[in-house]
Amino acid sequence: MDGQGQIVIEGVNHTYRPPRGRAVLALSNISLEIRPREFLALLGPSGCGKSTLLYLVGGFLPIERGRILVEGKPVAKPGPDRGIVFQHFALFPWKSVRANILYGLERQGLPRPEREKRAQAFIDMVGLRGFEDSYPSQLSGGMKQRAAIARTLAIDPSILLMDEPFGALDAQTRSLMQTELLKIWQRSPKTVIFVTHDVQEAVYLAERVAVMSARPGRVKAIVETKFPNRDPSILRTKEFAEKVDELWNMVRDEAIKAQEITGS
């Protein structure tokens, strides 16, 4: 049941229309291809539209121009083939950890015993045994994100969309979660699109990094970031540092431009 997902993004534009004020071109002519079981990072300064691009792939926003194909079919609406993990977890606050994880399985119409078994397996996998009956408000940030990741993985999407999933966590938790995510991904590879503005995170996690420019968002460069292995020890190697530097330089220019545009 492992993912066969392949995503093709062709000439996609997106205009952000605030309720008041003028429309802003958020994404301009984006083309990108993501191979099955690839881990791709979308890297760019805040406001470059990288999350918007992710939401378009998720089918949460209408596509105005261009098209996005998932496994050859145009994206029209959200679906369980594309699981999403948000920065602020988006757990249902009125449901316990277990009920949150069961939710997607119920929507998928799995028989009850199988649902329960599967939910427990994913609770165990992310190390939340003993917290099944806790509400999200009773968990730490890291535990909330573990629960959210378990909820998304439980419905076995072939594509995983991650919107700055570790952005709200403290530095230690973030680095632990990164390593854990890699372990999960290596065990059952899925196509991952990982949005981040953290250069080191992108280089460490992804096999390829798409660097995005400031408003309007464009794909400025695509950089291979594949290393022979992905355990945390590579963080201290020279190759890793050089890759981070290379990408940092690209992002820095864009971040400066983005600041000039916002006038801050």
Partner: protein, 251 residues
């Protein structure tokens, strides 16, 4: 447990002090005993009213009117508020009406509802329904508007259709504000109930207060006023417990 009881005693001590002061002031004839009969006589009148069934009969009729009006308001107002939050057209159409109706003292509608539905239960239920609908609608509207995009999208991406999503995400998101609106409505229901019965009715707490007052049975009148006060207080406490239970997922 004992500390809980102690806390409750300390909390309601002012009421006990007030009751004692009332009794003492009345017994010492510090005020006209017609205007303020001693609390003990009021209690005796209460027992009398209970025994001859006056209080129960009128109370049952009042509670029926109040409950019906409030339930209708919660059902219609809750649905309307959430629908307004979801559909812009409805919002544009209804919102000005809510704004217009909001500051209107609802008791001004008492003669209007009587004109439409007569002196019986119908006019009271309609008045309570109209008055209580406002805070419920506003609560549901604000609550549903505040529902988090990421929650809606999460539900959709896990396979929830749009109706399913409304029930699973929008309704529970709206619940805290909706329940607050209902609390306001609960208090309002008592106000509208008694004032409408006081003015035009042949039954109910308000009628009984007015009747006893106009026939000079002031002890009985005070007994009914206190009964309504305690019922209102009890209803609010019960409602608070219900909220605590429904919203126990919050910190």
């Amino acid at each position: 447990m004992t500390s809980g009881v102690l806390k409750a005693v300390i909390r309601y001590l002012p009421i006990v002090i007030l009751a004692i002061a009332w009794e003492v002031i009345a017994r010492l004839n510090l005020v006209d005993s017609l205007a303020l009969p001693p609390l003990s006589k009021v209690a005796a009148a209460w027992v009398e009213l209970m025994r001859d069934g006056e209080l129960v009969d009128n109370g049952a009729s009042s509670l029926y009117r109040g409950a019906m009006g409030l339930l209708l308001a919660v059902a219609v107002g809750g649905g309307l508020g959430m629908a307004m939050a979801r559909w812009r057209i409805l919002d544009m159409f209804i919102n000005p009406l809510v704004e217009l109706f909001y500051p209107l003292p609802k008791s001004a509608l008492i003669p209007v509802t009587v004109l439409w539905l007569g002196f019986g239960d119908g006019s009271k239920i309609l008045l309570i329904f109209l008055g209580c609908m406002i805070p419920v609608t506003i609560g549901a509207y604000n609550g549903a508007r505040g529902s988090d995009h990421a929650l809606v999208w999460s539900a959709r991406s896990m396979g929830a259709g749009s109706l399913r999503m409304i029930w699973d995400v929008v309704v529970p998101s709206a619940l805290p504000e909706l329940l607050n609106g209902v609390r306001t409505a609960l208090a309002l229901a008592f106000i509208l109930l008694v004032s409408s019965e006081l003015i035009v009715s042949q039954k109910g707490f308000g009628y009984l207060i007015g009747y006893l007052g106009s026939t000079g049975s002031y002890e009985g009148m005070y007994a009914v006023v206190l009964t309504v006060a305690f019922l209102g207080f009890g209803a609010d406490r019960l409602y608070q417990l219900l909220i605590q239970r429904l919203l126990r997922w919050r910190e």
